[in-house]
């Protein structure tokens, strides 16, 4: 059995679904972070796979971009997380309902 494009895309979809489930279900900010990272990486897999499939490198280029952005996002995001934890002593999302409409 060879690995076809479909397999990669299915993997990407599964990872993405896991990410979404995490985003929807998790209340801890840190876990949400993980979930978004999973989703990003799901997209990366899809990018890289399709790029290889149609022989166009720009997809893989995009994946690299995303990795870079994700890294910087994590750097900033984690910093903010620490600050929030210091200020409120928790990372539970339900506690941060200050901005009401």
């Amino acid at each position: 059995m060879t690995l076809t494009l479909t397999h990669y895309l299915v993997l990407s979809a599964i990872l993405f679904a896991i990410g979404i489930a995490g985003v929807v279900r998790r209340k801890n900010l840190l876990m949400l972070f993980f979930a978004t990272e999973i989703m990003l990486n799901a997209a990366n897999i899809a990018f890289a796979a399709i790029s290889a499939y149609i022989g166009d490198l720009s997809g893989q280029l995009f994946a690299l971009f995303i990795i870079a952005i994700a890294a910087s996002e994590v750097a900033v995001g984690l910093g903010l997380l620490i600050l929030i934890y210091k200020k409120y002593g928790t990372l539970d999302l339900d506690k941060f309902t200050v901005m009401k409409g």
Partner: protein, 631 residues
């Protein structure tokens, strides 16, 4: 000639503006004198024009300037003096001059003496515009102008407060003024509609052109125009059912009643019908309707005069009744006869009113004739004048009313409209009765006023000199009937009596004079010896019906004014506020409520936002998939 026309027209305007300059200052005798002189100038100019026309029967035209020039509409301030106009001008300015001079006496102690002259002269100007204009819109200017002046003058003593109808049947001067204005406006709408019809069908409003092209109109259209114009005439001339304002207008100062509500303005409707004679001649069925209505008003108004106790109201009803005579004549096609009666009536009715003004002054503004009596002793000259005027009004030979009224009766007979003839004949008797009932109640019998501590005094001598022209004309005007007929029929259609009528004419005269004389005799026996009141008569249904004006004012109040006020309130409170505005506010509130509800979604919890986001994402994906699938 044109200059004379302009002098006649604008002298009253100058007079009005001059008096207006002093409107807010103390009484200034100069104002009264200058105003009277200027109106006199206008009279001289008018009379000269009349004589000129008698010599050289060619109408004079003058074009002052453009007024409304839009699209195909071209209305100018154009004036014309033909035979009809000249008669009207002379009558109007003559009576106006006398009334102006008389007002110097009547208003001498009034705080607003100057203002009064301003209004009065403005009225004369408007009336001149009305009769001199050569087009329908010019007539409409004067028509509305006299309406406003009448409004100003009826409401001249604006400071009086509203009374109930039992105390004062006219409620108050300002109320009566508004009533007059609004009733006239109702009729003016008819006139305006007539003007619109003429404009859109003939493309012009000038009398000459309109009457020259009448044959372009269908019969139905002419009937419509005739009716519309007559509705206008009904308002100004206070014909049933728009008649109630005239009696209430007696709230104005008496010179005003004499000038506006007897001699001039109220005859404007008759003037309009006479002016539009080419139209009404082609639609005799409308003319007949006018005659019937006029006849009805003649007896209807006379009946109310029979029992009224108010000095001025009796004369007002008699004016109404005489206007009915004029419409009867005009409606039957005898236009010059209507004009003749109009002129004669102006003279003796103005005289009658001004005499009543003397009585009012003497009685300290008391109007109830039951509180007068025996005034002959103190006021011999006024008795003479009012007696003359009443004789003329009753149609006794050789006074003016005999000739003019008798001719109307002959016309009615000649047209074989014996019903009209009979009613008018009956009215002649009633006229004689109520006129002399008034004279006898005021001047003869026991001196009832003494009970009320009133000390009557006669007016100044110069007042009687000023009134003399009217008195003389009331006596001799009738002898000019032939000349008048020749003069007027240069412009108006000739009216021929049939052979049969010529044979009957002496019988008619005798019959008419007989009923008039018996009316006077009846009044003499009933009232000359003093007032004997009979409570049984006064409480009878007929008496109360008549003295309450057939309950028509009350009917109007309950059937028109009050429902209108109630409906207005409903329109405002119930519809405008509760429905229209509430709907608008309702929409605004719905949006606000919607915002309130959807605001709940904005709960500030990041994780629920993320759920919404995911739900949205899935929705969009599904739509995308679905749209691909459908394709």
């Amino acid at each position: 000639m044109e200059n004379l026309l302009y002098i006649a027209l604008f002298a009253p305007l100058v007079s009005s503006l001059f008096a207006a300059l002093f409107a807010q200052s103390q009484k200034n005798l100069l104002v009264g004198i200058v105003a009277s002189l200027l109106i006199g100038v206008s009279f001289v100019a008018s009379a000269t024009l009349l004589l000129e026309l008698a010599q050289n029967p060619k109408a004079i035209h003058a074009n002052l300037m453009d007024w409304i020039v839009v699209g195909d509409m071209d209305v100018r301030f154009g004036f014309t003096v033909d035979q009809v106009t000249a008669v009207m001008m002379t009558v109007v300015t003559l009576v106006s001059t006398v009334v102006h001079i008389y007002s110097n006496y009547y208003m001498e102690h009034d705080r607003s003496y100057n203002r009064f002259f301003s209004y009065l002269s403005a009225f004369v100007f408007s009336m001149m515009v009305l009769v001199m204009s050569d087009n329908f819109l010019g007539l409409f200017i004067g028509w509305e102008g006299v309406g406003v002046c009448s409004w100003l003058l009826v409401g001249f003593w604006y400071h009086k407060k509203d009374e109930t109808r039992d105390v004062n049947p006219s409620i108050s001067p300002s109320w009566a003024a508004n009533e007059a204005f609004i009733m006239n406006r109702i009729a003016d709408l008819g006139l305006l509609v007539g003007i619109f019809m003429i404009y859109w069908n003939l493309g012009t409003l000038r009398y000459e052109e309109v009457f020259a092209h009448l044959d372009q109109l269908s019969h139905g259209l002419m009937v419509a125009i005739g009716i519309a114009l007559f509705i206008g005439a009904m308002g100004k001339s206070a014909q049933f059912p728009l008649h109630t304002w005239l009696a209430d207008a007696m709230e104005g100062p008496t010179p005003v009643s004499a000038l506006i509500h007897a001699a001039t303005m109220v005859t404007a409707g008759v003037y309009l019908v006479i002016r539009a004679n080419p139209l009404y001649s082609t639609i005799p069925e409308v003319g007949y309707g006018i005659a019937v209505l006029g006849t009805f008003v003649a007896i209807f108004a006379a009946s109310m005069a029979l029992v009224n106790r108010d000095l001025k109201r009796v004369i007002a009803y008699s004016t109404l009744s005489q206007l009915g005579y004029m419409f009867a004549a005009a409606g039957l096609g005898a236009y010059w006869v209507a004009l003749f009666h109009l002129a004669a009536h102006a003279f003796f009715k103005a005289l009658l009113f001004l005499g009543a003004g003397n009585v009012m002054h003497a009685m300290h503004d008391e109007l109830d004739m039951f509180k007068m009596g025996g005034l002959k002793k103190e006021m011999g000259k006024t008795f003479l004048y009012m007696g003359l005027a009443s004789l003329a009004l009753s149609g006794i030979y050789p006074l003016a009313g005999f000739f003019s009224k008798d001719t109307i009766l002959e016309v009615a007979f000649n047209e074989h409209t014996y019903g009209i003839w009979f009613v008018l004949w009956l009215t002649a008797g009633m006229t004689a009765f109520y006129s002399f009932r008034q004279v006898f109640l005021v001047f003869l019998g026991d001196e009832r006023y003494k009970k009320y501590g009133i000390h009557p005094h006669e007016a100044y001598n110069w007042v009687f000199i000023a009134l003399a022209p009217l008195a003389i004309l009331a006596v001799i005007f009738g002898f000019w009937k032939e000349e008048f007929m020749h003069f007027a029929t240069q412009m108006l259609p000739v009216y021929e009596m049939s052979e049969h009528t010529h044979h009957m004419v002496w019988i008619l005269i005798i019959v008419t004079t007989a009923i008039a004389v018996s009316g006077i005799l009846l009044a003499y026996f009933k009232y000359a010896k003093g007032l004997k009141r009979d409570p049984k008569v006064e409480n009878s249904f007929a008496y109360r019906l008549l003295s309450n004006q057939y309950y028509i004012p009350i009917l109007y109040e309950n059937a028109v004014s009050k429902p209108y006020a109630d409906l207005s309130n409903i329109a405002w409170q119930a519809i405008d506020m509760k429905v229209v505005d509430a709907t608008v506010d309702g929409i605004a509130k719905t949006i606000e409520k919607g915002g309130d509800v959807s605001r709940q979604a904005q709960d500030g919890n990041l994780s629920s936002y993320l759920k919404w986001l995911t739900a949205g994402l899935i929705l969009v994906t599904l739509i995308a998939v679905a749209s691909v699938a459908i394709k």
